[in-house]
Symmetry: C2
Subunit: 186 residues, 2 copies
DNA sequence: ACCTGAACACCGTTCAAGT
DNA sequence: ACCTGAACACCGTTCAAGT
């Protein structure tokens, strides 16, 4: 990549990070280009779709979550590992308002730039769930897909202002429904 | 209301019904006015906000849901009444794609045209929940607000194409978490 | 190679001008 | 009273023209 292109790329990511933190993932791409002092076409050259921009922006976060799942898988009791990871991923998506809708479409759309990241998250979750199930700590009638749905629902709720005060309670209700009774006694 | 105004009003509702069924609640207002063969200002005169249009469009549905809750309250076992009503409301919102986001903001925003309808739904749910709790059939650590959150989460999930195949399973998981174990034995 | 911004086809919202 | 549509301030996306 040419030096000027590299600079534009980085400036765009930096500004996009800010703008999306301010107004959410539906932020105006025009506005991002403007604030990065870059032509609109330059933004489209580096990031052909909004999903490509989001993916570049969140790549390190996605990787960190996958790594975290591996660590928990080895370091913690299976039920606690699952719950802790759910908490992590929901906190992450909460910090990236508006990321949930694109993630839910991406998981089905193999051409989406976010597809791979979502699939990786889903399989991290599936692995944690599988271990908890083997330990008799989680219901066996769930799979990684169902877990992903539940995460998405919790994460979407978390985005809703009216839900804030009940976030913790609802999280426990759902995780309680995933885990088996015996797990709470440990 | 003048005869021509009345006619425009009805034509707008009719067209809006169609367009929203096709593309969801975020449909272009411009497009609705165009297809109703009415000036854009006329749409704004009759429906000053998108929420006002949605409210007019869904008023009868909202009332039917409240009435259904009353019927179930009297006619069915408390746990079955609650589950049946949850199913109804989720089916309803599913038919009105995109209605969930405005409903979730409306419940907190007293100035929203959808506010009253949402509050009414929430209290219908709260009444059903209260009876089930009195019968020892539902967890006592939930209230109408929490139930509304859970309904919203389920209804939002239902809008997601990737979730379709698991809709029934996740619905049962959540309702199972609301109801107490004894209830499933009845 | 890469950048730029005008151009196009859309929005939501307001409001002067018409009947 | 009510209706109309132009006007304004925005979008996303593409692409000819520039360096």
């Amino acid at each position: 990549m040419r030096a000027d292109a590299q600079k534009n790329y980085e400036k765009l990511l930096e500004v996009a990070q800010q703008v999306i933190a301010e107004v959410g993932a539906e932020a105006s791409l025009r506005d991002i280009a403007r604030r990065a002092k870059v032509g609109l076409g330059t933004l489209y050259r580096h990031f052909p779709t909004r999903e490509a921009l989001l993916e570049a922006l969140l790549r390190t976060h996605f990787e960190a979550l996958a790594a975290k799942a591996d660590t928990l898988q080895r370091a913690s009791a299976s039920d606690q590992a699952l719950v802790a990871w759910l908490q992590e991923i929901i906190e992450f998506t909460y910090r990236q308002r508006g990321i949930l809708a694109p993630m839910m479409s991406a998981i089905e759309d193999e051409s989406s730039a976010l597809h791979d990241a979502c699939v990786r998250l889903r399989s991290s979750g599936a692995a944690l769930l599988a271990r908890a199930q083997k330990d008799q700590k989680a219901r066996r009638d769930l799979d990684g897909d169902a877990l992903f749905d539940l995460i998405a629902a919790l994460a979407w709720l978390r985005e809703q202002p009216s839900h804030q005060v009940r976030a913790e309670r609802i999280f426990q209700l759902i995780t309680g429904a995933i885990l088996m009774e015996a797990a709470t006694a440990s």
